[in-house]
Amino acid sequence: MRCRKCTAKAVIGLPRHNAAFCKACFNGFVHDQVARAIKTERMFGRADRVLVAVSGGKDSLALWDILLKLGYHADALYVDLGIPGYSAKSREKVERFADTVAKPCDATLLIHTVQEKEGAGIRELADLINRPTCSACGTIKRYQFNRAAVEQDYDVMATGHNLDDEAARLLGNVLHWQDEYLNKQSPSLPASVEGFAKKVKPLYRLTERELAAYSVLNRIDYIVEECPMAKGSKLLLYKEVLNRLETESPGTKQRFYWGFLEKQAKAQPVPTSMAEKDQATLHPCATCGQPTTAEICSYCKMMARAKAGAPH
């Protein structure tokens, strides 16, 4: 297989683009896709401070790497969830990347440890409140990243969600007709109310396989093993199904998700309607001040329940 651009020996084939690339041209392709996402979705500009949510996985570390290489001012936050046998390894990957790649670019790594902040790790917290670990993890990460971005005056928070993540989530929402969530699937969500950071997904044009390839080719040392808490997750099942379709019919995932975004853009000006809706329904949490629809936000409720259920 030969590179479509320079005819050198290819290192990766991309059936959805009917193309193959050598390492240099593939890096160019990946950087172009991210630059295009940032520009077309008006995610952020050169002067903005970006906070990248990093986990030690391929997507978030690749995102941090790409933003730094594109010349953006991008710091990162890692939330240590205290998952036995997993968090220590993922944290080590993040810290190594920060030291070797980010630091020379004057970028900073922030670390929040759930155990230190709340007195227990994610597994204990999930058990105490009788919720699935992944669900508690999602609530904690959303809360910690948003709060850090707002309190430390970042202009925007960027996550490593890729095309597979978004297509799988869309499939889940459509299968269960959760249409009220569809307008939250935009790759750029505005800071609609005081206390909400703007949130963007600059990798939505790239697949997991492409991001894993980018990480391998650029010697980004990421955690390959899956989080033990994710076993049996519905999201993984949806991804598996979509990848079977993709293999038989290349381009399925992008047609599904990008097609949805195009239709949504034609149907309604999403940022406006979302901002209006958020402004009408959200107010500060009585405990922590973060935006919520209830008197107390779900994070504070979760922590209150965990503290009440904890052995004294």
């Binding site: 290819a10 992944c134 669900s135 269960h176 598996e240 293999t247």
Partner: protein, 88 residues
Amino acid sequence: MIGAMQVQLSHPERRVEIKGPKRVRELLRDLNLVAEAHLVIRGDDLVTEDEMLQDGDQVEVRPVISGGSGFSGSSRLSGSTKQTRQTR
């Protein structure tokens, strides 16, 4: 004498020996693995699906799929645990 190719697999982690020569796409098909969900790495190098693997090659078939928390969340409304649960 050169032995068969050594193939490193994940989930669960294991090592198998497979007789070469064999193209990458045939290796994936024999292992019943979907190409879109895997990378094939020979030594330190990524290889494309048409590449021929030989006896003696050290090969890793690396899964690329991750995710569980749905951390992007269907909902940004932190007051509703019901909505967060439905992200699963």
